[in-house]
Every structure is written in structure tokens, then in C-alpha cells.
Symmetry: C2
Subunit: 888 residues, 2 copies
């Protein structure tokens, strides 16, 4: 079994394709060596050793020692130096290198191989004692810190003490003897702190560093990072051991980092920084200020310190050549690390550069237009999820701002407006043309009209999946939730934001992408959806198989959806239409009614509203399909919470308060998620279903009468059996026939169902006998399949992610093994009975790129998501289809 892979100009056992085995850094070092770029020789201990290490109680495979020794010999052969040999010492760097770049792990130990004797030898060999002891003291500090777990502040203290004693300010002001004394102090410090002398044996040092890399794979920071970035713990890390090169051997030495293009904007300029006579750590440490690589950048920054281009024109030219070689080779923007030792360039790392969404977009489009990559590749190069940054207004980066409080970044985008404490007032002010920030302790379905009217939403309570957060994301409203330092005094109309008191009507600004709330008006910048964005989306649409629809119920949402390229409405949640001030009264009358006649009378009042809603949607969607879901939530969601409001409801329904309270108590449920909702409402109160069907068909006829096409799809929610759909179908068809007879206009329509119960997926063949389409409601399907209430998951979901039970929140990305299996079974069952059944997904997974990719594998016909995520879904669908084609 091969555990160790050498790289260098003489022998090179890996290449870029070995990323899983060698980690990103190791694979790219081998690749650079392989294509002839100047890379100090070294070897990589593979990720399989890491897995072995954790599977076998922190033991190494037996053959590892001999393989490491052989690879070390190989470095010695290429460098002509000798490890642990004071006369001509080989020093090493040891770096971790996982498959994906991973901050939080042990990073680097430099200058490994130094001990008292070797340091003395290095001083002799280099003729530079200061360099030798500076390297030694750096090594002791790094090794002490990352391998031996000695607080690095203690080393800093000793260094500062010495500088103070000698009355100098810069490390560089310390001489060789000072440093030698400091080394002695450091060695003593390590012994004091660890109880053992600092290891003098270079091989012991090497194995110590290797062990520290593997151990750091499981430290808390690394675990957290992996969870946040969906990196499986099984991947493991590799360890890269490489001959040291020195950027700190004099003024013909330097070290630096660079991007082949601007990572912030994507502009095609050589972007980077360097330091003369420095080791790599100095560039990031911030003790000295690095200088720009190019003259143009220096001028732009107004700096007088020379650029690398000016100070070492030949080496710069070589570096610029390497830049071109690497971009052409990797066909992507690269992030480079290099060291110049005595005017010779060494490449220490290359990797695909991280970039902003804007840069990603511009680079992908530019590279395709340069002919470097195809348009398909360009589509694949942009992280669909990151597009979200570009689709919402953002704070003007140049604006001054003062943070009042912080909460959770619950729904992206920035907004400013006047503070408003109730949904009703928000709606009124918005109708008067005001920009409003709705500020609430928390929100409930009663607030939806106010949330819709508001420019942004701020709540004191609730997490990332609270009502406010979920609804705001669906609506594309910026939202900051759970701002702990927000208090509200509704009686006085006062809001306390940290230490500042505001009154309703005062202006604040919030940024839902960061969770920050600012004083006054901070200017916002509208997203730019033309240029590279439009070009790339055009390429994506050309590659896409799945359709993308939007979840929308208001005219504004529907218009936004179309602007973002939605090809229909995949989910119109009719209940949201009942919360408006003038409708909720009739809705509550309906709920309080004692019998069918009472319900019908109240429903008759709702009918005109619903009809108008649907007519507007049909008009906006202009013949694109509009999937309308029948009333879904349990009726108690429409009832008020306060006693005073209940009295109002009783009065308006004309029943005693006691009767209203009794009715409310009877509607209360232990588990509303699994309660009297969905089509269960239509079965027990068929008149509700009939009213909604009538509103749909009357609206459709009205629009069709104006020669405008309409395509309604009526969706039965929460069905578990075909019989439920059949009963609803009968009601709907009867109404359709009646409306057709009265209007003389026959509307083509479909009746389908939402597959959101495990039973629906398991019995999909049965359901398809009654359903012309399935829309997988994976929000609820996840709740039932996993037995996790989204509202209650807060108490354990973080522990579940930390402990790798659900590495990704299953409400964000679909749980492929569980919920996904049901979606597959549902699709297969549906197709078995009805070959042309239309299959889609609605709910938040429809806007999540990973879930969209899953939908492609199942061959769904469309995904539906909130309007603001439509471009994300379009891009994700294109990427999924390209990858699917490549795989097959």
C-alpha cells in the first residue's frame, strides 16, 4: 500500500487529479512540478493515512515510516542537502492540505529540522548567524504553538520583553546574539510549559508535526468549519512535507501571494502583494505592510514603496509568465503563493482563487469570451448559491454607518424606512407611499400583510427558521431576526435599540445579509442584473432542462418572479390571501360559523377577493401555468391570540364570547403540523373548496374573456390517498362545469396534488390515478419523514449538525437518502400509472442548488422557489443538467 507520494523535478508521483488522495495543496504542488514550474521538492502523506489514523486509534500504518524516510531521501537528493545534518542542513515545511481548503486546521510549521546543533551549522553554512537563529526562534515558536500547544502569546511576551530591554522596536533590529539568547529563553519556556525539553531530534520533530496535522483535523474549529461548509469528516487531510526555501535570506529574497485576476471584481489584472526579505508568515502577520506586485496597483494605491514589477523586473516577468501558464493550465483564476530566494522564484502553492459573486460572474463570462473555457464551463464556474448576494439591494459600501444592534441575517438584502410596530399600520403607511421597517417582538401569520407591505422586517425573537425569517425569505424582504438587544414598548410607541431610544416613524436601516441594524438612512445600492449576469443566465437557460417556477401569491411577487425569469407559478398559497385586514374578518366569521349555511355565507364574502387575486395573477402570468394550492393551514391559525380580539371576532360573527372561546378551544391542536389541515379541510368543509374553485374559474373566465390565455393548475394539499383527491376533484369539476355553463367559457385546467406525506410518495401510483401532476412539498415531507418539526428543531439541530448526524440542515438541502428516496419512489409511482404526469418541487428546497441537482437526477419537470431565488434555481438547474449529461 502506497501512503507517501513524492513531487519535484526528478520524481513526481501525483498530479492535480489526485486531489482526493493528496489534498488540494499536495495535488497542485505535484501538478506544478509536473508541468515544469519551479517547486521545491517534497512529498505528500496521503489522506488515506488520516483515515487509517482515525480508524485505528491514532496509529499509523506500518509501512509509513519507511516510505517517509525514502521520500525524505528523495528531497535530499534533489536539494543536495541533508536532513539533521549541521553541515548542510535540509529544513522542511510541514503543511496540512485537505481536499477542500480548510481554515481552522493546523496550517504550517516552517524551518523544521532545526536544533541547537543544526542552527549553529546553518549559521556557518549560510554565513548568516542572524538568519539561522531567527529561523530557529521562529521554528520553536511555531512548533511550540501548533504541535506542543504552548500559548503563542508567551513567546511574543519574551520577544517583546527583549525588545523593550534593548530598547528596539522592530524584530529586525534584533541581532544574531539577541536571537540566540531568545532561542534559549524559548527552549526553556517550552520545557517549563510542557514538562519536557524541546525535541532536538529532527525526525521526532517531523513526526510531531505530522501528528499535529492529523490531530487538528478533529479540532473544534475544523469540525465547525466542515459543518458550515458541508465537508464530510471522512475526507481527511493530507500532510505536505517540503524543502524550505527562504524569502528572508537578504534583499534579493522576497515572498508573496497573488491572484491571477482581481478576486473582488474579476478584472483581468495581476493582483497581489509581496514583502522583501521575509518569510511567508510575515505577509499575513501584518507586522510589516506588504506592497503591491504591479506598478499600476502601486500607483492606484498612492504608495511610494516600489512594486515587485519595479524592484525585481526579471523575477516579476517570470512570475507573470507563470501566472499565464497556470491560468491556461487550470482554466480558472488562480490564487498563488511564491517565494524568491536569491533572485530565484519558487512556487509554493496554486489553487483556484476564492472570489466574490460579482468576480465569479465576470471571470466566468470573460474567460468564455476569451475562449479559455466553453460557455458550459462558464455556467459551471459560478456558485449558484452565491448569486443571492447579487439579487438583493446592498448597503452602499461607501456610506457611513453606525451599528445599533445585531441580530441574525435572516433574509438577505438591505432596506431603510420608518419604524412601524403593527402590521396594519405598515400596510396603511405603505399604501401612502412610505417605506416602512416592521419591528415586532416576533411575527405570526396575522402579520403577513404587514410584512409584505414593509421594506424590511426586524424582530427581537426567533432564529433562522422562525416565522419571520421563512416568510421574509419567501417574499424577498430583508429581515434581521432575533435581535436580542431590541426591546419594544408598544403602548408608548417606543423602540429601544441597544442604548438608543427610537419612536415609531424614526428611520433605521437594516442589512439582512449581515444581521446589522443601523441608525438613520444608510444608502442602498440596487442589484445590477444586466451585463455579465444577463449573459451568463442566457447561457444557463440554453443548457437547462428543468423549468423554473416561482412561489408567489401577490401581484408584486408574481411580477418580481417574471422579471427574474420564472416560467410560471409553482405554488400560490391561497391562505396568505386571507390575512388582509378586510378579509380576515370574513375568514374568522367562516371559522366561527356553527353550520354549513353560516360558513357558506361568510365564504360568499371572501369569494370576490379571491376572484380578484386570481384574476390579477392570471393576467400577470399571461398564460404561463399557475399552480393554486387549496387552503392548507389549520383554521386556528386564522384566529387571533388576544382576548380583546377574540371578543371582536365573536361580535362580528354574532355569537357569544363563550361560544367563540369554546370554538377556538375545540380547534386547538397538540400537533398542528399533523392536524386538521390541507385537504382534510376540503373533505370536512367542502364549501371552502367549492368557494376557492369558483374564484379560480370565475377569474380564469374573466381573463379568458379578454382573449388572454390562462392555465390554472389546482393543487390538493396534504393528500395521503387517491380518494381524498377524488373527493376534491368532484367538487372542483362540478364548480368548473357550473361556471362554464354560466359564462359560456370553458377553461382548460389540471387537478393535481402536493406530495408532502410519506404515504403519498409510497402510494404515488394510487394517487396518480386522480392527480394530473405532483408537486413535491419537501418542506413538510422532510418534517414527516424525519419526524422533525421545523419550528422545534432549534433545540437539537445544532447538536445534530455538530455531531454529524445531519451534516447539512435537511430543511436547507434535501435529505437525499431519506426524503430523496421518497421523492424518487413518488416520481416512479406517478409515472408508472400516468406516463406524462407533470412532476415538480415547491418549497424552499426548490431554490437550493444542491437540492435542484437532486431534482435533475430524478428527472423532475420543474422546480419552484421564492421569486428572489429564481435566478439561483435557473443557474443550478443548468449546472445540474450539464453535470448529469457529463456523468451519463
Amino acid at each position: 500500500m502506497k501512503w507517501v507520494y513524492s513531487f519535484g523535478s526528478l520524481i513526481c508521483e501525483g498530479d492535480a487529479s489526485h486531489r482526493n488522495l493528496l489534498g488540494g495543496k499536495g495535488a497542485n504542488l505535484a501538478e506544478m512540478a509536473r508541468i515544469g514550474l519551479p517547486v521545491p521538492p517534497g512529498f505528500t502523506i496521503s489522506t488515506e493515512v488520516c483515515s487509517y489514523y482515525y480508524d485505528n486509534g491514532h496509529a499509523y500504518p506500518e509501512a509509513l515510516t519507511s516510505q517517509v524516510e525514502a521520500a525524505l531521501k528523495q528531497i535530499e537528493a534533489e536539494t543536495g542537502r541533508s536532513f539533521a545534518n549541521p553541515d548542510n542542513p535540509l529544513l522542511l515545511s510541514v503543511r496540512s492540505g485537505a481536499r477542500a481548503s480548510m481554515p481552522g486546521m493546523m496550517d504550517t510549521v516552517l524551518n523544521l529540522g532545526l536544533n541547537d546543533e543544526v542552527a549553529a551549522g546553518l549559521a556557518n553554512a549560510s554565513g548568516d548567524a542572524r538568519f539561522a537563529y531567527d529561523s530557529y526562534r521562529r521554528f520553536i515558536q511555531m512548533y511550540g504553538d501548533v504541535v506542543l500547544d504552548v500559548d503563542h502569546g508567551l513567546f511574543e511576551d519574551l520577544l517583546e520583553d527583549m525588545k523593550m530591554r534593548l530598547n528596539v522596536f522592530q524584530d529586525t533590529d534584533l541581532g544574531a546574539e539577541d536571537l540566540q539568547a531568545l532561542v534559549a529563553q524559548y527552549l526553556q519556556l517550552v520545557e517549563d510549559e510542557t514538562g519536557n525539553p524541546f525535541p532536538q531530534d529532527p525526525m521526532t520533530q517531523l513526526w510531531g508535526a505530522v501528528g499535529a496535522v492529523f490531530a487538528s483535523w478533529m479540532n473544534q474549529r475544523a469540525i465547525t468549519y466542515r459543518r458550515l461548509n458541508d465537508i464530510p469528516a471522512e475526507w481527511g487531510t493530507a500532510v505536505n512535507v517540503q524543502a524550505m526555501v527562504f524569502g528572508n535570506l537578504g534583499d534579493d529574497c522576497a515572498t508573496g501571494v497573488a491572484f491571477t485576476r482581481d478576486p473582488a471584481t474579476g478584472a483581468k489584472i495581476f493582483y497581489g502583494e509581496y514583502l522583501i526579505n521575509a518569510q511567508g508568515e510575515d505577509v499575513v502577520a501584518g507586522i510589516r505592510t506588504p506592497q503591491p506586485l504591479t506598478k499600476a496597483a502601486r500607483l492606484a494605491a498612492g504608495s511610494t514603496e516600489p512594486s515587485l514589477e519595479e524592484v525585481m523586473p526579471d523575477v516579476f516577468a517570470e512570475l507573470d509568465r507563470v501566472r499565464g501558464v497556470l491560468e491556461a493550465h487550470y482554466r480558472d483564476m488562480q490564487d498563488l503563493e511564491f517565494t524568491i530566494q536569491q533572485n530565484k522564484l519558487y512556487m509554493l502553492q496554486t489553487r483556484n482563487g476564492k472570489r466574490t459573486a460579482e468576480a465569479a460572474l465576470n471571470i466566468a463570462v470573460d474567460m468564455a469570451e476569451e475562449g479559455l473555457i466553453t460557455t458550459s464551463e462558464a455556467v459551471l464556474k459560478v456558485d449558484a448559491e452565491a448569486l443571492d448576494q447579487l439579487l438583493h439591494p446592498t448597503l452602499d459600501p461607501n456610506a457611513e454607518k453606525h451599528v445599533l444592534v445585531r441580530g441574525l441575517p435572516a433574509s438577505p438584502g438591505a432596506a431603510n424606512g420608518e419604524i412601524c410596530l403593527t402590521a396594519d399600520k405598515a400596510e396603511k403607511l405603505a399604501a401612502d407611499g412610505k417605506r416602512v421597517i416592521l419591528v415586532r417582538l416576533e411575527t405570526s401569520p396575522e402579520d403577513i400583510h404587514g410584512m409584505h407591505a414593509a421594506a424590511g422586517i426586524l424582530t427581537a425573537r426567533g432564529g433562522m427558521t422562525s416565522h419571520a425569517a421563512v416568510v421574509a425569505r419567501g417574499m424577498g424582504r430583508p429581515c434581521v431576526s432575533g435581535a436580542g438587544e431590541l426591546r419594544i414598548d408598544s403602548n408608548e410607541g417606543k423602540v429601544y435599540l441597544g442604548n438608543t431610544t427610537y419612536t415609531e416613524g424614526d428611520i433605521i436601516t437594516l442589512d439582512g445579509s449581515t444581521g446589522e441594524v443601523y441608525a438613520g438612512t444608510v444608502a442602498t445600492v440596487q442589484p445590477e442584473l444586466s451585463g455579465a449576469f444577463a449573459t451568463l443566465m442566457g447561457w444557463a437557460d440554453a443548457e437547462r432542462r428543468m423549468r423554473v417556477r416561482a412561489n408567489a401569491e401577490t401581484p408584486l411577487d408574481a411580477k418580481t418572479a417574471r422579471e427574474f425569469g420564472a416560467e410560471g407559478i409553482g405554488l400560490c398559497r391561497t391562505e396568505h390571501m386571507f390575512f388582509d385586514t378586510d378579509r380576515i374578518v370574513a375568514m374568522r366569521e367562516m371559522i366561527m360559523a356553527a353550520d354549513t349555511a353560516g360558513r357558506t355565507a361568510a365564504l360568499d364574502k371572501l369569494l370576490p377577493y379571491q376572484r380578484q387575486d386570481f384574476a390579477e395573477l392570471f393576467t400577470i402570468m399571461a398564460g404561463l401555468p399557475v399552480t393554486i394550492r387549496l387552503l392548507d393551514p389549520p383554521l386556528h391559525e386564522f384566529l387571533p391570540h388576544g382576548e380583546a380580539e377574540l371578543a371582536e371576532v365573536a361580535a362580528s360573527a354574532g355569537i357569544p364570547l363563550e361560544a367563540a372561546r369554546a370554538r377556538m378551544l375545540r380547534l386547538e391542536e397538540s400537533n398542528p403540523m399533523l392536524g386538521h389541515r390541507g385537504c382534510r379541510l376540503a373533505i370536512t368543509y367542502p364549501e371552502i373548496c367549492a368557494m376557492q374553485a369558483r374564484a379560480i374559474f370565475e377569474a380564469a373566465s374573466e381573463v379568458a374573456a379578454k382573449e388572454q390565455p390562462v392555465l390554472p393548475e389546482i393543487m390538493v394539499p396534504l393528500a395521503g390517498t387517491s380518494r381524498e383527491i377524488a373527493i376534491c376533484r368532484k367538487i372542483i369539476e362540478d364548480v368548473a362545469a357550473d361556471v362554464a355553463e354560466k359564462t359560456g367559457i370553458t377553461i382548460a385546467y389540471q387537478i393535481g396534488t402536493m406530495v408532502e406525506l410519506p404515504r403519498a410518495a409510497l402510494c404515488a401510483d394510487e394517487l396518480a390515478q386522480q392527480a394530473e401532476f405532483f408537486s413535491f412539498g419537501t418542506n413538510d415531507l422532510t418534517q414527516t419523514t424525519l419526524g422533525i418539526s421545523r419550528d422545534d428543531a432549534g433545540n437539537f439541530m445544532e447538536a445534530y449538525q455538530d455531531q454529524n448526524i445531519y451534516p447539512t440542515d435537511p430543511f436547507v438541502s434535501i435529505d437525499v437518502d431519506g426524503v430523496g428516496k421518497l421523492v424518487e419512489m413518488g416520481a416512479a409511482g406517478g409515472r408508472k400509472v400516468r406516463g406524462d404526469i407533470k412532476l415538480g418541487i415547491c418549497g424552499e428546497h426548490g431554490g437550493d442548488p444542491k437540492s435542484v441537482a437532486f431534482c435533475e437526477t430524478v428527472g423532475l419537470d420543474y422546480v419552484s422557489c421564492s421569486p428572489f431565488r429564481v435566478p439561483i434555481a435557473r443557474l443550478a438547474a443548468a449546472q445540474a443538467h450539464i453535470r448529469q449529461k457529463a456523468d451519463s
Copy 2:
């Protein structure tokens, strides 16, 4: 297509195997004719006509008319009489006859074919005008009632008026002319009520009666009956048309009903009644009192009226011969109808006789011992569900009783005791040796110790699946729930039962099988589990493949379970152990604790209790497997509801009331069913899992140290991933190792999981890597798969059953198509990875015969149910295995 099947001595087209096609009655008439018994000739219109009728808008198949006419000719040929011919009239009976016997449908029209002219002819032909007009007036009344929907009371009124006018008391006192006059009044009544003259055309009469039978298939009573008895609407009914024979042509005529054995006790005696000179309807009408068939029965009843055996010894002998023939032929106890016309016996019906559970048991055992059937057949003959009647104490049938109020029969059995209003007091009184009836508005988990201590439970609120009902059934305690006329005044210690006021300590009796509550002590009778019961259960056990375990957590339950033949504990719900007065305090301290240390301190107090619980269970179960489920319910279930109690909790936990309230609020959940429970508790609070594991292993060691075998199986609840089980497994194994080290005793044990989430079943292969056994928790699996909260289903489940969406309550019998598919997938997935994985089911389905049969098809290893249902499960498992073998 053949729609009509003749039977008689000349031609007989059906037999008993045609039950689905001809209905039970029709098939058995054909069968009797076929084996040479005297059956009046006739024909059956098949159930397929009924299906056709409903599938085609109440139209008949075209060929039906000619087939009926041909079959009618056949009756005429055999009887030598002629339909609609006044000179020698053939009269007909028309009866419905579904596949299963079905009250609620149209029953019978007799004497069909009579009109003014035929009645006059019949008077001539029979020489008995009174008989002719009596027959005619009966026919008009029957036909008017069941076919023409004329209120039968109106006919009775006319009859009574006439008797009053003539000053006579018996119908038989009316003469031919009186009856002729009555006929005229009846005809006028029908015309007045329906607006049409009574149909004089016999063929019109026949088709009217046939149509009425088919129509009655869909009347509300029939629909309700089908729902209650799980009869699919698709089955349809047949119509039997048969030549009339007359038991009312003189004193050499009679009619009667009989059972081949005593249907109440199963005793092998000829049991039945007859009336001289009467039509069949008179036997059931109760106008004349029927007499016993046999002399022995007459003597036993102390009657002086002669028995059939005495008055018509020859005919009786023939009937007794027929009794033997039929029992030998059908190999089951038969329920017969017969008519004797002028000393000739005619058989009008035979069917398997309905019987009490006791009779079923005795008949099955007797017949097997007589060699009439095999022991396997005997096992199949007893309805497993009906055994329930025999397993609980019942009210002494001879005791006097006075009903106070009625509620729902929530848990079977009878009990008496003193009224007690709180669980704590109930526990205390029971400990003092008192018999207690716990009377509550409703019960909650806090009451469990009191429910356990009580002899019976009575609640004012709650349905058949309320907390009280479910827990009481599980414990085998009689329970009457939802007694609307029960009011409780806790302050005064008063209970109002209807109009009677009781004080705590007063004695009442309740019958959980009927829902009735009685004044004072009504004597109860203990069930008899020896004799035929023991014999049959022995045969059943010999036929059974699946093991039967019990759900039990207390020593009493465990003992009961073993007495009823349980072969282990399949579900020990540890949370029930925490509600005892002295434990709940520590439990609440644990919940209120701010950190792990606080929780551990409180758990240390619970440890000795749990250890003792388990030690007792292990001792009682004596080496049989004991499956212990880790803590399952959300923690808020252990917190009190009242403010005063919360203050106590705060005080005992040593935290401010505000902090306790805050903690309680934080624990509240929107959907507790899908919340922070099951193994999610063990993952977030590993110390709870560790305490329980320690209690298990310390108890097991303690018992094992006494040389007694122990077999603990530790069950991880609500797992959806293998990782959850792995985390719990690690905690458990560590504790096991620690206890083994400290005690020097190593206990063999298994770790498995409850499969109660759809994801667990879908990913069973993954879970089986960590689980040595699966127990399908189909209660929760039904809730999640169907998305139906058991607690909230009340608002729609009845409508769902009425509308045939879920014909059977899926919480009573497993939903085979949905939940069953998951069980199958789970079993297959588990076996794929772990060939010898042990598979069982716990929860209420484990005691439901239909669900047990399903478990047999999946090949589960055991079912587990509440102790009182263990015999039911044993019998059901045997029946399922016998049927399974027969099918394969």
C-alpha cells in the same frame, strides 16, 4: 354474461363456494338444494348486478330482464304454479343477501305477486280467504314500507283502528272480510302517501323489490354498518327471489329459527324457537311468543306450551336430521330458518351462526374433540379480537344495577371502588389496600401512577383515543371516557353523576366494555382462563411461528403478561417510571438544571429507582428478553401545568420562579410529536442515556449475581440515522464496560432501535449497521407516514371513515398500503445488512389481529402488545401462520 343463478331440486347453478357472487344467503340456498335438502326453488341475482347498477347510474345490464324471466319460468316448472296467474298463483319472497351478513339493508318482501285478482284467486285455490287476504295485507304493508317508503306505523295505525272498532285484541281475531276491508284501506293509504296506486302488476312488483334491495345497499345504516365492520362498498349485494312457502296455512304449519348449538354458551344442544301457523316475520315481531324447539328447553324455561319436538315429532326429527347434516357439511355451528307447510319441512336459510366469544371457544374445542374439525381449524374458528371479552372482569349478569351516566367504552372490563379525585390520593389509598375508581376531568401523563393504582378510570372528557383511553387499555384498566354528564367539584370533593351527587370515598362501579357507570357496588365476575380457553391457546401456541411479547413497565404488568403467556417484554417505556410522586421531583430537578453537572446530580437521585425497577422486571421475566426503551417523551411532559406546582418545582430545584418559567417556555413545542424527544434527548443530554444504561446494567448484574438469567435489549427510540444509534451505543457500551469492571459480571445484551420514522424504514440498511434489532413503532410511524396526529385526528377521522378514505382507523389496524410498505422496506433493509436481525412490532397494532396477520406476511419475529391483549395476539399469530401456510 350470466347475471342470474337458479337453485332448486331440478336445476342448481350455484353452491356455497359462490359466496362472493351470490351473497351468503344465495350461496347457501344453492348449497342446501345441491345436497338434497328441501329448499323452495328460486334464483339469485348476483352481486355483479349490484356493482353494474352503481357503476352505470342505477341501470341494469340489458340481459337481466330475460335471464330473470327464464329463471322465473324455472320456479314455475318446479312448483307447478304460475306467477301472476290467479288460478294457481306462484308467490315469491325477495331478500337481500350480501357476502357478509348485513343488518341495516332491506331485509325481506314476502308474498310478492299478490294483487286484487291474484288474492281472490288464492282465496279460491287455497280455499282459505282469510289466509289469502292476510297474506295480501302483509304484502302491501311490507312492500309499502321497504319499497315505496311509506311509514309502516301508518299501516299499524289502520290495523289497530280496525281492531279497536271491532273490539278484538289479536290480529288472528280478524276475519277474512275484515282483512279484505283492511286491504282496501292499505291500498288507499299507499296511493295517498305516494301519489300513485299500489302496483297491481306482479312483474312491476318484482322489479320494484329488486331495485329496493340494490338501493338499500347505499342507505346510511348500511354504510355505517359496513364502516363499523370493515366491509368494502365494492362487494355489493345479491337479491334472492324464491317461491313462497307458508307457515300460516293452518295448525299443520309452522315457522322457526334455530341454532345447531347454543350460541350463548356453545353447549351441544339444539337451540331454537318456532310458532305454529305463522309467517317468518311473526317470530321476530314479538306479537306472539315463540316456543322452544325441544322438550328439554321447554322444561328448562318452565313453559307449558308444547315444544315442536312434542307437537310435530316427525317433522322435528327431520329438522334434527337436517341439523346434523348441515353441521357435518359446513363443519360449523349453523343458524337456520325453516318453515313447515302442511307437515312438510322447508329450509329457508342456513349460515354460520353468530356466537359469543365463550360459545365460539367451546364450539371450536368441542368440534375438534368430536373430530368434526382439526385443531388448526378450531384455532381459526375463534375471532381473536372477540377474546377480549373473556380476558377482563365482567359485571355479574345476575346483579342488580342502576345506571348513573354513560360514556365511551374506552377500555374493556368492569370494576368497582371508591371515588378518588387525584392520582396521588389514588396511589395512597391503593397502597392501603383500597379499591379506587380514579375520576378526572381528563388525564395527563402526570396521572399515570394514579391510573395504575386505580381499579378503574372515569373521565368527563376525551374520546376513544384520549390519553385516558390509550393508557388504560395499555394497562388493562377498565375505563369509561367522555362521560358528558359527569361534573367534578374538586374543591368540595364532590362528583355529580347525572342527577346524583357523590362524595369522594363513595362507591361506584363502571363497565368499560359498555361505557356505563353504576351506583354502588355491582358484583363482577373474574374471567375463566382454564378449560376450553387453555386448550385452544395450547393448540394456537403449537401452530404459531411469531413470538408474542408484552408492553410492560411495572412488576404487576410484567406478572400479568407472563400469566397471559407473554414470552418477553417487547417495550418497557422507562418514562412511565418517572411519574411516581417521589421520583417526579428529581426528574423535574433534572429538567430545570442549568448544566450537565446539575442534571447529573438529579439523575443520580433517579438511578436507584430505575435500578430497582429493572431488577424487578428482570427477576419476573426470568431470562426472557426485556426490551427497554430509553427515555422517549419531550421533557416538557414531565413539567406541571399549574402555577403553584411550578413554584414548587422552582423551589425544589433551587432556582427562581422566573427562571423555571423561562425554562418551561423554552421547552414548549409547536409539534411535540416531532420535537425534542426520543434519542434526540440522549444526543443532547448524554447523561440521561448514561444513567439509564447504568441502571440497566447494575440491575442486570444484581439479578445475575443471584444466578438468575437476564436478557436486556436496549432500544434507542426515534432514530432516523445510524449515527444517532452509534452515539447512543458508545454511551451504553462505555457504561456496560464500567459496570462489568466494577461488578465483575459481564451481561450479554443487545442494542437496537425503534423504527418509528419513515426515514428509519427507508434507510433501514444503514440503521442495521448499528442496530441488532428493530422494533417497528407503528403508532408513531402511522402518525408520521400519514401525517396524522393521533391526538388531533378526532376532528376529521370520522368523516374520513364515513367517506371511505381510511375505511379502518389506521391507529387500530395497520395501514398496509402505506405504513405497511415502510415496515416491509424496513424489514428487507435490515435483513440485507444483518441477516439475523431480530424484527418485532410494539405499540397497539401488536395486539390487533389484522395487524398481526400483516406482521406474519412480513415474517417478523415477534409482536408485542399490552398484557391483556397477549392471548389475542397469540391466537391471531397462530391464525395468521395457518393461513399463510395454506396460501403458500
